[in-house]
């Protein structure tokens, strides 16, 4: 089936050779803009399970999908028949954008999202020259790290080394890295044929849905469906799975339907549906996607000389496969993180269940609300012989700036250990940075009558999956706790 994906080398090569000769870089024609294209993961296919990225390079001012289809595209692919220093040899290749679009939306049934990246004229010139030199070389290719994501990011970010020290680098992570450094000007999507069919089926009755699903496996059944829109859409999907004999029959069936009285109206309805689905806002999943994490820290309570371990589990945000929507609704509120932490000290033990639910608008510039609670139990041995519960809950608002998030929160505290009022209200200021290589969280809480509490937490990414975590906490009663450990994110 690899050959199936090898449709004719398209408009791009012709266009490239026409315009490039006079520019000194004979392979690549000057381009006016850069569109990074992300093909979403497709769970049904192992090879499509991690997404794919490529770049379209239109040489005209571009306003829509139709302008892009005939544009040249840069794809990084592996040559399975050749071995290099790594596992295989990979190469930047020039192809027609429509060729890659058809492969992804039709054969693979994957949604494509186009992101226009901001580049100045001199930068575009540099990108082109750089691409020319890259086209002449082969590169070491391996699935987990040196893949399309790595090489496209390397080219677009002018040799940045964002992925040099990490264990794996998926195309989605490459997309996040690129769009973080080059915030997209706009984006739009091309839905897959299957997605368009599913959209139409959502209004169909059960029997029709059954007929369509059966028809996808047995194309002759598609003739029995009464709805020409569903018939035509099912044909588009069935074609990608067919043998040649079935393909010919499907083409004939489509011609018959289109020439029937309701055919043109059905075709118009399909074109309109696809156009509606192609309108897109910047996808939520571009921002702050994080997987679940497990961590372990050694902690030292400075004043009491008490050392211990802290184990933590965190469920983070990861919006795999969530299609971006053009309009945001309440359903877009995200559950960002939940922590469960267990402290085991030499002197005393704590169990803290901290469920942190953070609602954030994931747009690049915006604000959000946060809320959450923590609940713990502490047992202090003799001579204090105290044990008791402590809990807090908060509601806050934060605003996102270029450098990070700044927030304010009101905290209600319940503590029967005597460290704070039995029931008190505190005011906290929070600060979070945005950085690919790590994050910083700072929190100051004023507990009336007891002073200020301070929490500083720095995470430094070592690899894409592991981070060093350093904590410093100063409670209102003056006790200082330091922690150092690692966190593994999945």
């Amino acid at each position: 089936m690899a050959t199936r994906y090898t449709v004719g080398c398209g408009v791009a090569l012709w266009a490239l050779s026409q315009a490039a000769a006079a520019q000194g870089c004979v392979e690549v024609a000057p381009f006016k803009s850069v569109f990074l294209v992300f093909a979403e993961e497709q769970a049904e296919s192992l090879v499509s399970g991690f997404g794919h990225i490529f770049v379209c390079l239109p040489n005209l001012p571009t306003s829509s999908v139709q302008d892009l289809l005939a544009a040249p595209a840069v794809n990084f692919g592996a040559d399975t028949s050749r071995l290099g220093q790594g596992m295989w040899v990979g190469q930047y290749k020039l192809q027609a954008c429509h060729e890659l679009v058809r492969k992804n939306t039709h054969f693979d049934q994957r949604r494509l999202t186009f992101f226009e990246l901001p580049y100045t004229e001199p930068e575009l010139k540099h990108l082109r020259e750089d691409l020319c030199s890259r086209l002449a070389h082969t590169y070491s290719y391996d699935f987990f790290r040196h893949n399309c994501g790595h090489y496209i990011a390397e080219w677009l970010l002018a040799n940045n080394n964002a992925s040099s020290s990490i264990l794996y680098f998926t195309p989605r992570e490459a997309l996040a890295t690129i769009t973080c450094q080059r915030p997209p000007l706009r984006c739009f999507t091309i839905p897959s044929d299957l997605e368009t069919l599913e959209q139409a089926l959502s209004h169909a009755d059960e029997r029709t849905v059954y007929q369509v699903r059966r028809g996808l496996n047995t194309p002759s059944v598609l003739r029995e469906i009464n709805d020409p829109v569903l018939q035509l859409l099912a044909i588009r999907v069935a074609e990608s799975r067919s043998t040649f004999a079935e393909y010919s029959a499907l083409e004939s069936l489509q011609a018959d339907i289109l020439s029937s009285p309701g055919g043109p109206e059905a075709a118009q309805a399909i074109i309109a549906t696809r156009a509606d689905m192609s309108a897109a806002d910047l996808p939520n999943w571009l921002q702050e996607g994080e997987g679940p994490a497990l961590g372990v820290q050694v902690i030292q309570q400075a004043d009491a000389g008490d050392t211990g371990l802290r184990l933590s589990a965190e469920a983070g945000l990861r919006d795999f496969g969530t299609p971006p929507r053009a309009t945001r609704t309440l359903r877009d509120i995200r559950f960002l993180a939940a922590d469960v932490e267990m402290y085991s000290h030499q002197v005393h033990s704590d169990l803290v269940l901290a469920s942190v639910s953070v609602v954030r608008d994931l747009r690049r510039i915006g604000g959000g609300l946060s809320s959450g609670f923590s609940l713990g139990r502490s047992d202090l041995p003799d001579p204090l012989a105290i044990s008791g519960l402590y809990a807090s809950t908060w509601l806050g608002a934060s605003s996102r700036f270029e450098f990070g998030w700044l927030g304010i929160r009101a905290v209600a505290i319940l503590d029967d250990l005597g460290r704070t009022p039995d029931l008190g209200v505190a005011l906290g200021l929070t600060f979070d940075t945005l950085c690919d290589t790590g994050s910083f969280h700072g929190e100051v809480t004023d507990v009336p009558g007891h002073g200020l509490g301070l929490l500083l937490r720095q995470r430094q990414s070592c690899t894409r999956t592991s981070s060093l975590v350093a904590d410093a906490t100063c409670d209102p009663d003056g006790s200082i706790t330091l922690g150092l450990g690692v966190q593994f994110r999945f």
């Binding site: 199936r4 994906y5 090898t6 004719g8 794919h52 005939a70 028949s81 295989w88 011609a255 074109i271």
Partner: protein, 196 residues
């Protein structure tokens, strides 16, 4: 642990075999293919053996790859590397990106499952014109189904793209009128009529 290995490994292998991208070519020892060209009656050789003329419909033995050559007097011979996507290496390596090593000249393409079209270059055709013609034919054949849908609707992204790239000397409306007259149930005939 042993039962897990016994159970999981066969399941993984079976799952890999039934990936959608491989499903049509892994049964049987031979595979039906079709090869057509812009020159009717061109010779078709597979692995050096003359097997017929275009339009060629036949079966070839399954193997990792096969070299097909299409040739006609007065035209430059064109070769196609027919590669199979199913092979143990591909399963073990789990590729994100498919290898596209065949048809790199842009003069041949697979427009339907296991169905190839070869555009032979005559000695009188300039390189630029040949590439343009190949691009136009490839676009029309590979997008035949969607283009006919858009023609019936009277508009669409692909039609606009086709017009903008190849038919800027005429208005979209007149291009549309000509395109609607093309036969719609055969990809090759459709593309030839559009290329005109």
């Amino acid at each position: 642990m042993e039962w897990q290995v016994r159970f999981v490994v066969p399941c993984l292998v079976i799952a890999a075999l039934f990936q959608t991208s491989c499903a049509t070519i892994i049964s049987g020892t031979s595979q039906a293919i079709s090869i057509d060209s812009n020159v009717k009656g061109a010779e078709v050789k597979i692995e050096g053996n003359l097997v017929g003329q275009t339009p060629f419909h036949g079966k070839i033995k399954r193997q990792k790859e096969a070299l097909a050559v299409v040739a006609a007097d007065g035209y430059t011979a064109q070769s196609i590397t027919l590669t199979s996507s199913y092979n143990p290496v591909a399963i073990l390596s789990i590729f994100w990106d498919y290898s596209t090593t065949d048809c790199i000249t842009g003069a041949c393409w697979e427009y339907a499952p296991n169905t190839y079209f070869v555009n032979l270059k005559s000695s009188t055709t300039s390189e630029a014109e040949f590439k343009r013609q190949s691009s136009l034919l490839a676009f029309c054949m590979t997008y035949h189904g969607q283009l006919t849908l858009e023609l019936a609707a009277g508009d669409g992204d692909l039609l606009r793209s086709l017009h903008r790239e190849f038919f800027t000397d005429q208005s979209f409306e007149s291009f549309l009128t000509c395109a609607k007259a093309a036969p719609s149930n055969d990809a090759v005939a459709f593309a030839r009529a559009i290329a005109g």
